[in-house]
């Protein structure tokens, strides 16, 4: 158990999450990808804190921030999904293309 091992696991979680977020058609599944990505960030923050700077509290504060970000992401994501769905009855990213340039 060392920093490198933790970071490789965190990297794996981030990549899997990224893959999911990029490939999923459904907005809800896309959000699951994002959650997984942030999951990796949490693990990375904990590892950095523990193995590099355990005396400070920066790592802990970062985890608090990421966890809050996850909650906000979920809430905002579902609110937007609900709004889009109410307006247009779609729940797929490919269909919601207003922002496409």
């Amino acid at each position: 158990m060392n920093l490198q091992a933790f970071l490789v696991v965190a990297a794996a979680l981030v990549s899997v999450g990224l893959f999911g977020a990029l490939t999923q058609q459904s907005i809800v599944m896309l959000m699951m990808g994002l959650e997984l990505l942030l999951n990796g960030v949490i693990l990375g923050a904990a590892a950095f804190w523990y193995f590099l700077a355990p005396a400070g509290t920066g790592g802990q504060v970062l985890i608090v921030i990421v966890v809050t970000a996850m909650a906000i992401e979920m809430a905002a994501g579902f609110a937007v999904t609900t709004a889009i769905y109410r307006a247009k009855r779609i729940d797929m990213t490919d269909d919601a293309a207003e922002l496409r340039g």
Binding site: Q4, A5, F6, L7, V8, V9, A10, A11, A12, L13, V14, S15, V16, G17, L18, F19, G20, L22, T23, Q24, Q25, S26, I27, V28, M29, M31, M32, E35, L36, N39, I42, L43, A46, W49, Y50, L52, A53, P54, A55, T57, Q60, V61, I63, V64, I65, V67, T68, M70, A71, I72, M74, A75, A76, F78, A79, V80, T82, Y85, D91, D94
Partner: protein, 186 residues
């Protein structure tokens, strides 16, 4: 012992995370994601961050249950009885994800990390609390305001009928026209 635990938790976290996008059933996907979170929470607990580890468990269980509800609300075929592919742009994404992994993992293994400086505080929870309430006060306040803004924003976005619909343009209706009324108020 510690190493074995670490390996088990690490493998669980990654495999469950990957399976999220492989299974057909949305309910299973959601709870696989939860499993991945729980494994990460276990890893966080291994670093001694007891409070944060348990908070992650608490939050993620609630979050995933809520997610399951929305999932079933909006997804076609949530139980996965009809296998179907819900991917787009798979190849590009795979390349991007693989590159990211190689870059991150390579960085993790190749960088010459500094030696560990200092020792953890005896009571980490207390240390976090004191930090949030003094040095990191601004962070805490920002988070609080952001969360509040999120609550207001998401409710406005998601609600189908606001108070002007329920109580009239002047908000002066003695009672709302809801079919089923809540416990208090109009």
């Amino acid at each position: 012992m510690t190493t074995a635990l670490f390996v088990v938790l690490a493998v669980t976290a990654v495999v469950a995370g990957a399976l999220v996008f492989r299974v057909d059933s949305m309910a299973r996907a959601t709870f696989l994601l939860l499993l991945s979170f729980l494994a990460v929470a276990g890893l966080v607990l291994m670093t001694g961050l007891q409070y944060l580890g348990v908070v992650i468990v608490l939050m993620m269980v609630i979050e995933m249950v809520v997610m399951a509800v929305f999932m079933i609300m909006y997804m076609m075929n949530p139980a996965g009885l009809m296998p179907m592919s819900m991917f787009h742009n798979t190849r590009g994404a795979a390349v991007i994800a693989a590159t990211t992994f190689v870059a991150l993992a390579g960085g993790a293994l190749l960088v010459d990390w500094p030696v560990r400086g200092g020792a953890p505080a005896p009571d980490l929870t207390m240390a976090l609390g004191q930090s949030l309430m003094s040095g990191q006060m601004l962070t805490m306040m920002t988070l609080g305001v952001t969360l509040f803004a999120t609550i207001v924003g998401t409710v406005v976005l998601a609600a189908g009928r606001g108070r002007y619909d329920r109580l009239g343009d002047e908000l002066d209706a003695p009672e709302s026209d809801d079919r089923d009324r809540g416990g208090v108020g109009r």
